[in-house]
């Protein structure tokens, strides 16, 4: 066992938006080692995104009850006060989302958005240094002509570039954990491959642990070492990706794998 940086135990999430409470996540456990990439796979309604949002502390919009523990850096993110939670958000734990267009603020310049975590968490860094780091980060995620992009608005970029901007903004504080919620689903296959490569490279260069959420098992196979399979709020299976592909233990996992069209070129 390596150095465990995140330990989620017995996570329960229940929504109270309607008269009847609705359980969306049940008995969710996750141990994340420093620098590892874990995949969470499942279909819509499986609770994979909800678990991720809970870890990132972003479930505040709904009327809900949460139970369990999310231990990070000796703190329980589920029960700690908002101020402590905020001090981790964007600095130690970052997140990127499915729709890079709607996830960026349409009326703010790219540079301003990339720098945001620095501005919030590291007030000691001055404006010039902030800009230098932002541009450096934007170059690191493969945005060509970063100086120019710095002053552009989201609508002027392509989908792939926007997702790169999102990654730059998430990585600028050099977080320990990056949560990626279906970051490639809205993108074309070739762009998708580029973004997956970029995430792999970030993981290698900066040592950031990644929780990668996707509905696409074959994509998870390309990127992750470990995978958690979810269905209707529950963890169905959990283990090494290759093992699960070779010997799925549960019926649902088998069904998921069978749904991927097999290609036999020989």
């Amino acid at each position: 066992m390596g150095n465990i940086i995140l330990d989620v135990t017995d996570l329960h999430i229940e929504f109270h938006d309607h008269d009847l409470p609705e359980t969306v996540v049940e008995d969710f456990d996750l141990m994340l080692e420093a620098g590892e990439i874990v995949g969470i796979v499942g279909e819509s309604g499986s609770g994979k995104s909800m678990s991720a949002l809970a870890i990132a502390g972003l479930l505040k919009r709904h009327a809900l009850t949460k139970k369990g523990k999310i231990m990070f850096d000796g703190t329980d993110l589920l029960s700690c006060d908002r101020k402590t939670l905020r001090s981790y958000q964007g600095d130690e734990i970052s997140m990127i989302f499915q729709e890079p267009m709607t996830s960026l603020n349409p009326v703010k310049k790219i540079g301003w958005q990339v720098e945001e975590s620095l501005r919030i968490h590291h007030k000691e860094i001055d404006k010039k240094e902030r800009k230098r780091r932002a541009i450096e980060m934007m170059e690191a995620v493969g945005l060509r002509d970063a100086e120019h992009v710095y002053n552009m608005y989201p609508h002027e970029l392509s989908g792939g570039m926007r997702q790169r901007v999102m990654i730059a903004a998430a990585m600028i504080g050099e977080p320990k954990i990056l949560i990626a919620d279906e970051p490639t689903t809205a993108l074309d296959v070739t762009i998708q491959a580029q973004i997956v490569n970029l995430l792999r490279q970030m993981n290698k260069d900066k040592g950031t642990a990644i929780i990668f959420i996707s509905h696409d098992l074959s994509l998870i196979r390309q990127l992750c070492q470990r995978v958690i399979v979810m269905q209707k709020g529950n963890i169905v299976e959990n283990g090494n990706v290759e093992d699960i592909f070779r010997k799925p233990q549960m019926g649902y996992t088998r069904k998921l794998i069978a749904a991927i069209p097999q290609i036999n070129l020989s």
Partner: protein, 314 residues
């Protein structure tokens, strides 16, 4: 810059179309202006002489261009009833109406922006509910009736306002402004209610969008998300509304001037409509049209500043 030029061009074009419509509408109404001017005194010779003098025998487009060019030079024709230039009649009235509209606008902005943000932030709280009910009621009160009510409360019960005690700006500017406060409120209240409701809805709408989740994920506080991210987006529809509201206020003051006995353009407009004194009606409508178009231009420019997406939306 190209954007502004384009907008100015389209404004000029609109003004042209509007002026043509106004001129044609009033020229095609049955009734001869000269007969109208002299009434029973009109003799055929007099009519013929004046028709020639006023150029009424020329083709209608020629008359239109002559009228339009003269209008741009500040010559708005001669009133049928008073036989004096319309420009002079309106010169002292327009500042009164305009001041009233500007004051109303300021009141609307000062009330609605903080209230809109507050009610959105504490959505479904007690204060939010109370304010939405009050808003709903205020929007249902015709401005002239709220004018009457304000006169009643401040003039009859509290006795801090003297109805009919208008002082012209040429006499005492401070007293002039003081007198206009109540009428300005009467005009501003329903618009402020609408703007509050619109801003509240807009902030709530924007707050539900994905980018606010991103903002929270960076460690922003609720206020940080609201003021640094949501507000600018939420103001986009509100700016458009406020522009239209300002135009409405210029026109709305016509009614309120009647309630408070303010000698703005209202009285002249109404009497000239009733007496079919068309040069005056035309001049006032064109005057308001120009004000409206200039306001629209300003709104477009502000809109462009807060919304960088405008070019792609085209």
């Amino acid at each position: 810059m190209r954007y502004i030029l384009k907008k100015v061009l389209s404004m000029v074009l609109t003004l042209f179309v509007v002026s043509l419509c106004v001129f044609l509408a009033f020229s095609l109404i049955p009734g001869d202006p000269v007969t109208r001017m002299f009434g029973t005194e009109a003799t055929p010779e007099l009519i013929a002489q004046y028709r020639e003098k006023m150029g009424l025998n020329d083709p209608i487009l020629v008359r239109y261009f002559r009228w339009f060019v003269a209008f741009l030079q500040g010559d708005m024709g001669i009133s049928y009833d008073y036989k004096i230039p319309v420009t002079g009649m309106l010169a002292e009235k327009i500042p009164i109406t305009f001041t009233l509209a500007i004051m109303s606008f300021a009141i609307m902005v000062i009330i609605s922006i903080p209230l809109g943000i507050y009610t959105a932030k504490y959505e479904n709280g007690i204060i939010d509910h109370v304010i939405s009910v009050i808003n709903q009621i205020i929007m249902a009160i015709p401005p002239f009736f709220s004018g009457i009510l304000l006169t009643f409360v401040f003039g009859v019960i509290l006795r801090v306002f003297q109805p009919g005690g208008f002082v012209s700006y040429t006499v005492d500017f401070e007293k002039f402004l003081k007198y206009l406060i109540l009428p300005a409120f009467a005009i501003a209240l329903p618009k402020a209610a609408m703007a509050t409701k619109l801003l509240r809805g807009s902030v709530i709408d924007e707050a539900g969008k994905d980018y606010t989740r991103t903002a929270y994920s960076r460690g922003n506080t609720t206020n940080g998300v609201l003021y640094r991210h949501v507000l600018k987006n939420a103001m986009i529809p509100v700016v458009t509304f406020m522009g239209m509201a300002l135009a409405d206020m210029v026109a709305g003051s016509i009614v309120i001037e009647q309630v408070f006995g303010i000698p703005g353009i209202s009285r002249i407009l109404l009497s000239s409509i009733n007496n079919r004194d068309y040069p005056v009606v035309e001049a006032i409508i064109m005057g308001i049209a120009i004000i409206v178009l200039v306001i629209n231009l300003l709104v477009d420019i502000i809109y462009r500043i807060i919304n960088p997406r405008i070019e792609v939306e085209s």
